[in-house]
């Protein structure tokens, strides 16, 4: 069953500085949700409130419509932005310890630790002290720490920063597996290209307020203006003279233009008649463009 984690009108301030203003959004189970925002936009504070590390000034966090109990929060998995594990503990020992703190039996914690280390290709490092691990391995260890107790909700603050592309793939595979069991997975990132590629849903936060949230496709559709891309074998000089067309980019046989769908169809018909069309497509905005637009 897919769970649903929701924030309802959450506000929080530090002293007189309002960090979160009326923040509401949902994180759907079974999907990976990207949480995007500039530095200082309120991502970490939001995540800490979800985890119960910080209390909101007002508003609440619910799971499947019910307010969160302490017991449920203990079943969350969290990877904080500031990475940290005990430097002088052995990797496997530490993961087993964290699993047991979450309430696993020693045997279950051991089993889960072994399986995770295997998946994250850390098995050979199981008995190394955490401080002796390479930076990339520490990062993977941190993800293992968030996952060891098979959490019901997974919250990760910048999980991919500092990972090489191969590590990104192995971590992503683990997250997708977890999400596939119906668990809501929320991760923050300021690397928009990674978010664009990895997540199913998106939440954009700026200046303590949610600016956009929904599925990636939906957001794209919402923010695609009627912009088209056209490339032909011949010359597109005539395009500028077409009524209802505003040419934005032009280079001989290539043009980007704004027009209503009907006008665009007419342009396409004309282009086909004039020469062979190499490419015609609605131009979808990249996440970076949507982001720039919504945080304005």
């Amino acid at each position: 069953m897919n769970s649903l984690l929701e924030l309802h009108s959450v506000t929080r301030s530090y002293g007189s500085r309002a960090v979160l203003k009326d923040v509401s959004f949902g994180v759907r189970g079974g999907r990976i949700t990207g949480f995007v925002g500039s530095n200082g936009a309120g991502k970490t504070t939001t995540m800490r409130i979800i985890l119960g590390v910080l209390a909101p000034d007002s508003g609440e966090v619910t799971l499947d419509g019910k307010p969160l109990a302490v017991e449920q929060r203990a079943r969350f998995g969290y990877m904080p932005e500031e990475r940290g594990l005990y430097p002088k503990m052995k990797l496997a020992e530490q993961l087993v310890y964290l699993g047991r703190l979450h309430g696993m039996t020693a045997a279950a914690a051991k089993q889960s630790t072994d399986a995770l280390l295997e998946r994250l290709t850390l098995t050979e490092r199981a008995n190394d002290l955490v401080e002796a691990l390479s930076l990339g391995n520490q990062q993977r260890a941190q993800i293992a720490a968030a996952l060891v107790h098979e959490p019901d909700v997974l919250v990760l603050d910048e999980p991919f920063s500092g990972l090489d592309p191969i590590a990104v793939e192995s971590v992503l595979a683990v997250l997708k597996d977890r999400a596939a069991t119906g668990v809501p997975v929320l991760f923050s990132s300021h690397q928009l290209d990674i978010v664009e590629r990895l997540c199913d849903d998106l939440v954009v936060i700026a200046d303590g307020g949610i600016r956009a949230s929904g599925s990636r496709e939906q957001l794209r559709a919402d923010h695609s203006s009627d912009r088209f891309e056209l490339q032909v074998a011949g010359d597109l000089g005539w395009l500028r003279a077409e009524p209802g067309v505003e040419v934005l980019e032009f280079d001989g046989g290539y043009a980007v233009f704004d027009a209503s769908v009907d006008v665009a169809q007419a342009v396409l018909a004309k282009a086909i008649a004039a020469s062979s069309v190499l490419r015609f497509a609605p131009k979808q905005p990249s996440l970076a463009q949507i982001f720039k637009e919504v945080i304005k």
């Binding site: 590390v53 594990l85 005990y86 503990m89 310890y97």
Partner: protein, 364 residues
């Protein structure tokens, strides 16, 4: 979803945390070695003390003629017989004997004592005729013994409190500095985190103190100093009991103070007030161990009671109910300190960067 676990009880969680603290400490070579050295030092000081006191040979005293009988009658000296006064004087000059005793009809005791450059107190004392003496309120204890016992309590408390206080503070800051505290706070209630830390380290400190007391007791018995043991024993037991409560209080103070800083480098300044608090009873008991008023006050001031009250039990100046009253006071204070300390600890944990102001941490 997998259900290979259940919500652990607070007790189980606390113990899990305490157990990790103990495990990590016992894994530290520095800790194991310093504990072993401490125990050996206590053992050695008692054994060596016993050997030197048994081996104190009687002083050599030369005696001439009828004085030989007089000196050997005291049973305190090794008598070297000399044929005449000149030979006895030569023995004194050569440093062979401490003093010489020769017959002297002019002296009321019938002998006179010859020494090189200083009056030989023990010889004079044993040969003098003294008026009979009656002490109305005899001192129970040798002042030197009082000094050593007070020093023992003071040093043991001071060393353990400082050592384990530092260890707790380090452990708090380590979690804050490595930021694992965020994961921990998202996993277990903060007060259990603090409780586990305090219990784990208190058990270690308590174990060390109990170990020292036990070794001291066994060593005293083994070296035949059981009279001293009977004398010190009850106060030793009270010391261990008071230490247990007092240390929990100090542990709470140390953790709260440590939670105010984010880096090990800043620990020193944050801990100074707590360290002062520990040093006061240490110095007080050393300087004022013969001052009844100061010791009595100390025995009721919570952070000084672990040293003050066992001292009074040892001196025999405490009524039977006094340790109990003082202990109750100490336990009550400990509870209050724990409440305030856990608040400061919880509020300090997530504040990174510079030093958090105490008032700020109290407000939350």
């Amino acid at each position: 979803m997998t259900t290979s676990y259940s919500r652990p009880t607070p007790l189980a969680t606390t113990w899990l945390i305490a157990e990790r603290e103990i495990r990590m400490r016992l894994r530290s070579k520095a800790f194991v070695i310093s504990t072993a050295v401490l125990l050996l030092a206590v053992l050695a000081s008692i054994v060596i003390g016993s050997i030197t006191s048994q081996n104190a040979e009687p002083a050599k005293v030369a005696a001439v003629g009828s004085a030989i009988g007089t000196v050997s009658d005291t049973g305190q000296f090794d008598v070297v017989e000399a044929t005449d006064r000149a030979e006895a004087e030569q023995l004194v000059k050569d440093g062979e004997v401490e003093a010489a005793v020769v017959p002297d009809d002019a002296s009321p005791t019938g002998v006179s004592v010859i020494a090189l450059d200083d009056s030989p107190g023990s010889v004079l004392n044993s040969l003098s005729i003294r008026p009979s003496l009656e002490i109305l309120e005899p001192l129970d204890h040798d002042p030197l013994l009082i000094y050593f016992v007070s020093l023992g309590f003071g040093v043991a408390f001071f060393m353990s409190a400082i050592t384990f206080g530092q260890i707790i503070a380090q452990s708090v800051v380590e979690e804050k500095q490595t930021r694992i505290v965020e994961i921990l706070m998202a996993t277990v209630p903060v007060r259990l985190l603090l409780a586990g830390k305090i219990i784990g380290n208190s058990l270690l400190a308590f174990g060390q103190i109990a170990g020292i007391s036990a070794i001291a007791g066994i060593a005293l018995l083994a070296t035949g100093q059981d009279i001293l043991l009977a004398d010190v024993g009850p106060s030793l037991v009270w010391f261990v009991i008071f230490f247990a409560a007092g240390f929990v209080m100090l542990a709470a103070l140390y953790s709260a103070a440590a939670a105010l800083v984010s880096r090990t480098e800043d620990l020193g300044s944050a801990l100074t007030p707590v360290t002062m608090l520990v040093m006061i009873p240490y110095f007080a008991v050393i300087f004022f161990n013969d001052n009844d008023l100061v010791i009595t006050i100390m025995s009721y001031v919570p952070f000084a009671a672990p040293v003050g009250m066992p001292m009074r039990v040892f001196l025999g100046t405490a009524q039977w109910w006094e340790p109990l009253l003082s202990l109750a006071l100490l336990v009550a204070t400990t509870v209050v300190v724990l409440l305030i300390g856990s608040r400061v600890y919880a509020n300090g944990l997530l504040r990174m960067g510079g030093k958090v102001k105490l008032a700020e941490a109290l407000r939350g």
